[in-house]
Structure formats: C-alpha cells, structure tokens
C-alpha cells in the first residue's frame, strides 16, 4: 500500500537505554481503519516502541508519521491536536474529578476556549461547554459507563478505570487510537467487555494500534500483527499466519536460534 494510504507509519525506529538496544530498527505501518497489534514476549521492546510512537519517548533515530505528516519532535499535546489519542497501561486518571469530568478532558485537543474566555464567560465558552459535555456523555455511553458519570474516577475498579480512559480517548474523536496493554491486570469479565468495545470501534472504522502481551486477546481482534522479540520485528502478517509462524512460536517458547534465522531472513 502506498504510504499516503497509511494512517500511521513508523520507519526504522531505534532507541537505546545505556547499552541495551530496546528497539532496534523497527518499522511498521498501520492502514486506515485497521486494528494493528504489536505482540511479543516480555522484554521484546513493545512498550518502548509504543512510547516512541506515542511521542512519550524520543527515538535515537527513525521517524513517525501520521497520514504522511511527520510527528518527529512534536509534543504529546501537539500530537493530540493532530488526532492521536492514548490509552495508557498505567491508568492515568485525574484524581478529584468525576468520571464525566475525566472524560471531558479528552475533548481538550479539539476545543479551544481558554483562560480569559472561561473566566469572563465569553460566547465561545458557552458554545463549547455543552458540546464537550455532550461528546463526553456519548463516549461514556459507548464505554458502558453512563451510569457512573458522577462517581469519583479513582474509586472505580481497575477494569472500569481502563474503560474511563478509553472513553476519554474517544471523547477527543481521534483518528488514531493507541492502546498500551489495555487488557493487563483485568479479570476475564472485564477483558471480555473491553474486547467487545474494541471490536465495535474497529467495526466503525477507527484506526487502532494495540500493544499487548496477551496473544489470544490480540489474535481475536487484530487485522494485522507485528511480532517483536529482543527489540526487533521477527514477523508480521495476518493473525492466522502469525499463529503458525515458527519464529513466533520459537520466540514465545524460547528457542532463540530459530527466531534469529527467520528474523534475518525476513
């Protein structure tokens, strides 16, 4: 597919920590409307790759582009304004705010009224506030949290806190949703609910990049999977292919020689 049709393209990303090359020349491209997953065993460099793509870490080399527009050197808030949204693995909800208020913050990137307009209650404040609230309420319905909107966000169980984060991301009406191990730490019922929500979003055509440790969770949801091991891409393809890929099986079962030979071959 030509690069212009790619929602996200990461090219040759490398990042070292001291002597360890956490991500080593990784490239991947996420097509518009696709749910692209990155999997790999512990220590494969998935989270580092996620942070490089999300703009939370700077790569030593390599570039990231959103619909052909370079994101290099842009701050997380600038990236948010371009239409990316992040669901963090560590739940970063805002204390002292209700579920609804947490989700309303998600609309920040696409709304504009500032300090003066808010303090003086100028017209744009009155125009935007109901809009923000409406979008947040809609996102809460989507995430199945409408009945909790007045609760203090930090009082919810982990599964619902994750869902609040997804709702906050949806409230920004993103073009690209980045999810970092969204299923980790969830009980099976919560995991099922999250999988259903992600499936719905995929059906609506939202482009997603999902970094996940749980292979079963991913193969059910993703259209395309990139497999990492020790900082490198060892396989990429559709879920059915990936499940049978010897390099992938080797990486998960721990037979490094075979994995290496496939990685250098492809």
């Amino acid at each position: 597919m030509p690069p212009s049709q790619m929602m996200l393209s990461a090219t040759d990303l490398t990042r070292c920590f001291g002597g360890v090359v956490a991500v080593n020349g990784v490239s991947l491209a996420v097509a518009r409307g696709a749910l692209h997953a990155v999997i790999g065993p512990n220590g494969a460099g998935k989270s580092t790759l996620f942070n490089l793509i999300a703009g939370l870490l700077r790569p030593d080399s390599g570039t990231v582009a959103l619909e052909g527009r370079s994101l290099d050197g842009l701050s997380p808030e600038a990236r948010a304004r371009l239409g990316t949204a992040i669901v963090f693995q560590a739940v970063r909800l805002f204390r002292g705010m209700t579920v609804l208020e947490n989700v309303m913050v998600g609309a920040h990137a696409s709304t504009h009224h500032g300090f003066v307009e808010a303090a003086l209650r100028l017209p744009r404040h009155w125009r935007e506030e109901p809009l923000i609230r409406g979008r947040a309420e809609q996102a809460l319905v989507r995430a199945g949290l409408a009945h909790l909107s007045d609760r203090a966000a930090q009082s919810l169980p982990l599964g619902q806190q994750r869902a609040v984060q997804v709702a906050r991301a949806l409230c920004s009406e993103p073009r690209l949703l980045l999810l970092d191990e969204p299923a980790s730490g969830l009980r099976s019922g919560e995991r099922e609910a999250l999988a259903r929500l992600i499936e719905e979003l995929r059906a609506e055509g939202l482009t997603m990049l999902l970094v996940e440790h749980d292979v079963a969770f991913v193969t059910r949801l993703a259209n395309r999977i990139t497999v990492m091991d020790r900082g490198r891409v060892i396989a990429e393809g559709e879920p059915a292919q990936i499940r049978q890929d010897p390099a992938v099986i080797a990486a998960y079962l721990g037979r490094p020689t075979e994995a290496k030979s496939v990685a250098s071959g492809g």
């Binding site: 808030e77 204390r95 609309a107 500032g114 300090f115 506030e129």
Partner: protein, 336 residues
C-alpha cells in the same frame, strides 16, 4: 442523587453564598475603625489566597514567595500614583506589573518542582525585598515610600465641610468588590475547559498532555494569574495605607498565605475565603493575648509563627484535604 451530593465539586448552595455575601456587606459599619482595618486586610488576603490556592491545588505548583508579588503590586501602584498617574490606572497597573514579572521568572522557575520550586520562589522574594530596600532613590528604601495619594477623591462640599471617601469603612467595600471579582473570575475558570485541564495536570502531567492540555503553558498562566491577584491586592493595600516599606512584606506573610490556602482546602475558591477568615480571627485573638501587660514586645510575632506552625501540623494530621472539603464531607455523609 446521593452520588451528585457526594461529588467533590458540589457547589456550596447559592443560599449559603448569598448569606456570606450579605453578612460580609453588613459587617463593616458595625466594626470600630481598628477592626475595619483588619477587615480590609482580610479581603486582600482572600484575593491573594484564592490565587495561591489555584496555583497549589489545581496546577500542583507551590509558591513560598507570594508576598513578593503582593509587594510588587503595591509598589507598582504606589510609585505610579505618586508620579502622577490617575489612581485607578495605577491600581489597574498593579496586577499587570506583578503578572509581567511572574511570566518572566516563571519560564525558568517552573522547570523546577516541589521543594526546589518552593526554594526558588522563596529566594525570589528575598531578592525582591533586597531590591526594594536598596533602590532608595526610587522606593525610599527601608524608610519607605510615603505620600501615595488616596484612591478616592476628597469631595468638597461647600466652604468648610469635606467628605473624605478614603475611610477604612469605604476601603472595606473596595476590598469586598475586588475579592468578589476575583472569586467570580476564578470560579468561572475552574468550572470550564481550561480549569479541567489544570485539575488534570495536577494529577498526571503526561495524561493531561496526551489529552491535548498544554501543560507547560498552562502552568505558567496559573503562576501568572496568581501573581496578578497578589499584585491587585497589593495595589489596594498601597492606597489604603498610603505608605509602603519592605518590612510590610516579610517571608512570614508568604507563609501566612500558604497556611490560609492549605487550611481552607487547596484548589477550593471558597476554601481560600474560609482559610483566610479563620487565620485572621486566630491572629486577632493571639495578638490580644500577646499584648497583655508583662509580655515581651516580640510576643505577638513569636505567637504568630507558633500558630502558623501549629495550624499546619494540625491540618496535615487531621484535615489533609482542608477545612472546606472536610465540612462538605461531613454534611453529605448522612444522605449517602
């Protein structure tokens, strides 16, 4: 319904606000002129504390040098008025002067966090005090800046009767109006898109930034706003006293603002009002006690230090969220 009542940002009922507003409007004429002076200072402390509470509670920053911005506002207004600028313009320039200085020093200083930021702001106040004391040609140095014209005109009613509007009673209402203005503006800010962004970044700067909150710029704006409030209060102070000296803006005053904000409940507009009221009353009681015959001359100052320290310890132990949130929680509990 109970969840609505339990919400942390429950609005104090409009009835209560109206009651507080009315009571504070009716109170000044009942006070003697000494107590009216205390009331004026109370309204100014409310203005400074609302800003500091916004800075500490919402943006998660700290300033141990808030009295420096109070002093800068006071000297800005005092010097401009003394050199011929109309008084109301000089008063309007006071918050601008403090805000400009805050915006300039904020760029480097807000790169610091926690204790480092506290010490940087403390150092800033010491620098400001030193400059005010040493620039004798401009500020009058330690002797002070006198001859500041009064804010309001002296009305000439015929031959020998004059009506001087610059009584403590009138300043009670000047302070009241300024405090009300600041409370309304701040409340509007908190309950809006930028206010939510600030509350968000106080917990998680990364989470807020990923949602599109301009973390660095917003922190600088809040720092500047809190300085502007302090400067505005300082401007009123300059006209009220008609005399300024560096000694009126000690470090103890900065600490007093922090105690007021923390006691009331950080990030709570009405908490700042409550905190300022409690501390002003406490200091009044202590001063009455410390000026009993037989006590040393330094007794009032020593007692205030002890009181601020004691209040801080008690708040940390028993009311970590502050008075207002604690009261609100107590009131909402039976219904939940």
């Amino acid at each position: 319904m109970t969840t609505v009542l339990r919400s942390r940002f429950l609005r104090p009922s409009s009835v209560l606000i109206a009651g507080v507003a009315l009571a504070s409007l009716l109170l000044p004429p009942l006070l003697d002129s000494g107590k009216q002076t205390v009331f004026v200072l109370f309204t100014l402390y409310v203005v400074v504390t609302v800003g500091l509470s916004l800075l500490m509670g919402l943006a998660g920053q700290i300033s141990l040098g808030q009295a420096a911005f109070y002093a800068l506002g006071a000297y800005t207004a005092g010097l401009l008025a003394k050199h011929g600028l109309p008084q109301l313009l000089a008063l309007a320039a006071a918050p601008v002067g403090s805000a400009v200085v805050a915006a300039l020093i904020g760029v480097p200083v807000l790169r610091l966090r926690g204790h480092y930021l506290a010490f940087a702001t403390l150092a800033f106040q010491l620098i400001v005090l030193t400059i005010l004391a040493e620039a004798r040609g401009i500020t009058g140095g330690d002797i002070g800046l006198g001859g500041i014209p009064p804010l309001l005109p002296v009305l000439n009613q015929g031959q020998d009767s004059e009506l001087d509007l610059n009584s403590p009673l009138v300043y009670c209402y000047v302070g009241w109006v300024v405090a009300a203005l600041v409370i309304v503006l701040t409340r509007n800010l908190v309950r809006s898109r930028p206010g939510r962004g600030l509350r968000a970044l106080a917990t998680s700067e990364i989470g807020a930034a990923a949602s599109g909150v301009a973390v660095g710029a917003d922190k600088l704006k809040v720092f500047t706003i809190s300085a502007a409030y302090a400067g505005l209060a300082g401007g009123v102070y300059a006209f009220f006293l008609e005399y300024l000296s560096p000694g009126s803006f000690p470090i103890l005053l900065s600490i007093q603002f922090i105690v007021m904000a923390t006691l009331g409940g950080l990030g709570e507009v009405w908490g700042a009002v409550l905190g300022a009221a409690v501390i002003v009353l406490l200091v009044q009681i202590l001063q009455a006690a410390a000026s009993q015959p037989g006590l040393p001359r330094q007794a009032p100052a020593i007692l205030s230090y002890a009181a601020y320290g004691g209040v801080m310890v008690l708040v940390m132990l028993f009311l970590p969220a502050g008075l207002l949130p604690a009261i609100r929680q107590r009131l909402s509990r039976p219904s939940s």
